[in-house]
């Protein structure tokens, strides 16, 4: 859990959220405006009612006339107010949900930008929670704090002006408690930040506790670990409940404060009346003023009107804290440093595609903390790993245009790390990599990935149709091209036999296919890519021996003259590589064919 940085941390966080919402400023302002109108119409309604009552009570004819007029005015206002309230709710909610939808997209884009190599030591369940729950908690900032505060400010000004004209003291008596109620959220929020953080954090933990065992469902079941998983979810739920209790206690005290402050305004008006009304206290000698009494009655009604706007306001402190906590978690994830910085001044794209590596040294960086963002609750801190030993150390390798290099080596020798370097998912700590003679570091990652397509070991099929999965590699590919790629990956016949053909859905991670079939679909996707350089990391894993042989024999045709880096554990003997290298001790050493 990030340490709560107090009030100083609150403003920049929420300020950044608002900056994120700037494109929706029109909607957001409109919502605030309608809220002000609705609140003021409520005040006007009761002010007129108060005037009416005061007029009835006086024997002044002019005032009586005004009172009657006020009562007549009441009727349209009585209609206007609910309608304005309806409009307020619709507009503010429409504005909020637009802003939240934008925020979700922004979050996904940031993750794609910052975590191109995968989520690493983060939990996907926790990230999902950030996208769903934490983004949702931001609505409190606008709906429960900003909009009510704007409305309350308008009401406060109206009350102060209306009463100030009659008696400054009365205005002070009524407006002061209301002003305190208006300020209270800002005063409460910093104290609630810790509770808010804990709620957001435990919420993320709960989701992770649910998602984790579902991700590894087969392994969880096979280990008879259901009971443990259920117990973990229950414990996470219990922690969340505890945190919620703490935060809601703050909210409840805020609610109580709101009630008391609005009551104070009301009783203040009454007390003033007791002091100044005819026949009572000080005013009796002063001849008693009907005006004073009318002012007291008006103040009373205004206080009643304001109670609705102000009563719930101090609760917003808790909502504000929750929003800040959500924002903190969101930005924490969105601000992960990208593994490879984009070049500030990208070089022009080279015409050639030859890859050349010289003296490349690389070690996987250790993650910042156990969870990637510091320890989470219920997890021992300080298990973060120190820097790992270098995987590649002084690696030289050439993949000439149209060449085919086979790279062999035991598992864990750094073959996949090499692919990551070439795709700019990681940056070498030493040495140089050039594509077509231009330093890879000077090329934008997107441009590099257009040139180099890779079948990674963890290549994934998405829960979508076969066609949609293939077209990830080439969105404009026609059906003939899809079938060609499928045939080259030796899976065309199987897909043709499916009743829905290319429209068959793959299931999450290709769950509706066998492991080997899913792997071949991923291979087809890579072959479909128009990139001039292909990296095939264990393309035949999961294939039976005959299929593997058949595929490798036709590799030439399948890759049609493109450069190929073939990463394999062993050669079957039919690959016909132009060069064979063995990855040992972080270096590529020529091996006998």
């Amino acid at each position: 859990m990030a340490d709560p940085s107090g009030p100083a941390g609150l403003r920049p966080l929420l300020g950044r959220v608002l900056a994120l919402w700037r494109p929706r400023a029109g909607w957001l302002w409109a919502g605030g405006l309608v809220a002000v109108v609705a609140a003021l119409s409520g005040v006007a309604l009761l002010a007129l009612a108060g005037q009416g009552v005061a007029a009835v009570a006086t024997d002044d004819r002019a005032a009586l006339l005004a009172g009657t007029a006020a009562l007549l005015l009441l009727r349209p206002l009585a209609l206007l107010r609910p309608l304005a309230r309806y409009a307020e709710r619709l507009v503010t909610h429409a504005a909020t949900f637009r802003a939240l939808a934008d925020t979700r997209l922004w979050f996904f884009r940031r993750l794609a930008e910052r975590l191109p190599a995968g989520i690493g030591l983060r939990r996907s369940g926790d990230l999902l929670g950030r996208l769903v729950t934490d983004v949702e908690s931001l609505d409190g900032l606008y709906l429960r704090a900003l909009v009510p505060a704007a409305a309350a400010l308008a009401v406060l000004l109206a009350v102060a002006l209306a009463l100030g004209a009659l008696s400054p003291l009365l205005a002070l008596l009524v407006a002061l408690p209301l002003a305190v109620a208006l300020l209270l959220p800002v005063l409460i929020a910093p104290g609630a930040v810790r509770a808010g953080d804990r709620v957001a954090g435990t919420q993320g933990e709960l989701r992770a506790a649910v998602v984790d065992p579902l991700l590894g469902l087969e392994d969880t079941l096979a280990a008879n670990a259901e009971g443990r998983a259920v117990a973990r979810v229950a414990a996470a739920g219990e922690r969340l409940a505890r945190a919620q209790r703490r935060l809601s206690r703050r909210a409840a005290w805020g609610g109580a404060a709101g009630l008391l402050l609005t009551q104070l305004a009301l009783l203040g008006a009454l007390g003033w009346g007791l002091l100044w009304a005819p026949g009572h206290g000080a005013a009796a000698e002063a001849g008693g003023t009907h005006a004073g009494l009318a002012a007291a009655v008006l103040a009373l009604f205004l206080a009643v009107a304001a109670a609705e706007t102000f009563g719930g306001l101090p609760r917003a402190g808790a909502a504000l804290a929750a929003a800040a906590a959500g924002a903190r978690r969101l930005f924490e994830a969105a601000d992960s440093t990208p593994p490879v910085a984009e070049p500030t001044e990208p070089a022009a794209l080279p015409p050639g595609n030859a890859l050349r590596l010289r003296g490349v040294r690389f070690a996987w960086p250790s993650e910042r903390g156990p969870s990637g963002w510091g320890p989470s609750e219920g997890e021992a801190a300080g298990r973060g790993a120190p820097d790992r030993a270098p995987v590649l150390d002084g690696l030289d390798l050439d993949l000439p245009e149209g060449g085919r290099v086979a790279l062999l080596g035991p598992s864990g020798a750094g073959k996949s790390s090499l692919a990551a370097l070439l795709l700019k998912l990681a940056a070498p700590q030493g040495g140089s990599i050039t594509l077509g003679g231009v330093d890879l570091a000077a090329l934008p990652a997107a441009a590099v990935r257009q040139r180099i397509a890779c079948l990674t070991q963890d290549a994934r099929l998405f829960d979508d149709t076969i066609a949609a999965n293939l077209r990830l590699a080439d969105p404009d590919a026609d059906e003939a091209a899809l079938w060609r790629a499928l045939d080259r990956a030796r899976i065309g016949d199987l897909v043709r036999a499916l009743p829905e053909g290319l429209g068959t859905r793959c299931g999450e991670a290709g769950a509706r296919f066998s492991g080997g079939q899913a792997r071949r679909l991923a291979l087809a996707r890579t072959l479909l890519s128009p990139a001039p350089v292909l990296i095939l990391d264990e393309p035949a894993a999961g294939l039976d021996a005959d299929t593997e042989r058949a595929f490798l024999e036709t590799l030439d045709e399948a890759t049609s003259g493109r450069s190929v880096l073939l990463i394999v554990h062993r050669l079957v003997g039919v690959e016909r590589p132009t060069r064979i290298l063995r990855l040992i001790g972080g270096r590529a050493i020529p091996a006998a064919g």
Binding site: A78, G120, L215, G279, H280, D458, G503, R512
Partner: protein, 608 residues
Amino acid sequence: MPGRDPRDAFPGHVPPRAAAPRSRKRGDNGVDRAAMRRRSVPRSATPDTAGDAAARALLAREGRAGRRRQAAPVLLGLAAALCGIAQAWLIARLLAALLAPLLGNPAGAAGWPELLGAALLALLQAGLGVAQDRAQLAAGIAARARLRGAVFARLLADGPADERPVGERATLAVDRVEALDGYFARYRPAAALALLVPALVAAAAALADPVSGAALAVAGLLVPVALALTGIGAAQASARQFEALQRLSGRFLDRMRGLPTLVLFNRQEAEAGSLGRAATELRLRTMRVLRVAFLSGVAQELLAALALVCLAIHHGAEFRAGGGDLAAALFTLLLVPAFFAPLRAFSAAYQERLAARGAAAALAPLLDAPVEAGGLVLEEVPPRVVLSVQDVHLRYDPARPPALDGVSFRVMPGETLVLAGPSGSGKTSLLRVLLGFRRPDSGRIAINGKDATLLAPAELRRLSSYVGQRAHLFRDTLRANIRLARPEATDAEVEAAAEAARVMEFAAALPAGLDTLVGEGGYGLSGGQAQRVAIARAFLRDAPLLLLDEPTAHLDPGTEAEVLESLRRLCLGRTAIVATHSRAARATLGRVLELSAGRVVPVARAAG
């Protein structure tokens, strides 16, 4: 890539794609799919009414379970309302006394004591409000904990047979259960208070002035009418809203787990567009719910305003006619907000009820589905297992060829059976059946001569250790990942298993050894290393039946030979089935059973 509808992924449900135009499907599919999941509901009932009834039943059942807890907020709310009434009376008296001289009456006696009383009542009310808040939260927490546990246990029990994306399933256990919180914590107390408090207030008003009391009562009676008018169709809108959230979650989790794949094809922007559509759909659906829910708020405010105006005019007329009790008139006027406050709280919570209905409609089919038959429990894990499989058939999808088409074989203790055959020939399906992840459509599986399908699936799994083709590593230390197989194992036993599976070979080079953290799905390890961790689980598990699916797929020949050697030791004395493509494995492990398209290929050729 077009924004495909992930709902289509539902297993066994193959929509007539060509026949149904896309646009129509989008609207209808929600109902369609909801019906699919309502396994226990008779098909003859229309989906909506059946779903509604199930949702109502679920909410009622949970409501009964937590009735005691829910009484507290209601009682506290009633007490606060009584305070409010008393306070209104004091303030009315005070005001009347203030105004009396103006009406030519002698000045009233009320003054500071009343003011003090009102202030004390305000304090009391604030205190009761805090207590009510806490009581409500407690009621919600209890209900959520109960439901979350039940839903999650059910999701686990259904296992891989439920093919909805993980993100969607997680939404059921997290968001949908959270959505029920509002129902138990706020809606139910609010509903009770919306009945009791207005009645109380109207009665108090009637005591002071019968006409005012009657006016309030009439306004109160109109409220349910307004709610009923606005509430029609709202529950359905709310169910759709939840489906949209579920879809968004499912899609996001799926895409995030494959983020590198998207990034490598430069498709993250296109995917963001698809996610944007899902997010927009969620927004539109949410607004559709709120439009209706807010309408009920408008109706109430209108009624409140009208009641206020009516009372003001009524009393105004009385005074002009020269009659009327000022204190009583003011009292009834001041009671108007007190009368409508619980109704307003009710209409605010009405939204929660809609959300809860939607959530319950999604949860009910999961919770109400009959627990699979065959809940026999093993007395103890037998030390030796004879496994015989007879004529087993399995078909995932009626439109696709069967995965298993009459497979029969028998494996004795100490024997290792190698399952061979091209990918998709049914090797994994067979292992899944043996693990109880899938029930075979027909055929017989016997363990030591007894029908294994009578055992609860979890009991079946107690007999076996399993290494899946895509074994999942959890985000935890290597040690904890291995220990998953047997949580009570000692550190020494874990290390022995890691040694046997050649995990120590690479773990020794890691900064924290076996205590090194690995990421979800084995991040930080190569494919072969992750595989070895999974094999270490099997070593630690020490069960009489071994089921291994491609245990050496990602290993280089050297490591493969070593792992095979230790696997052979593991198989000693156990009943083992190993699905593999590896020639080395076939050569060293034992008898080969060749599968092709779900059938056993005759022995003569397979033996070679």
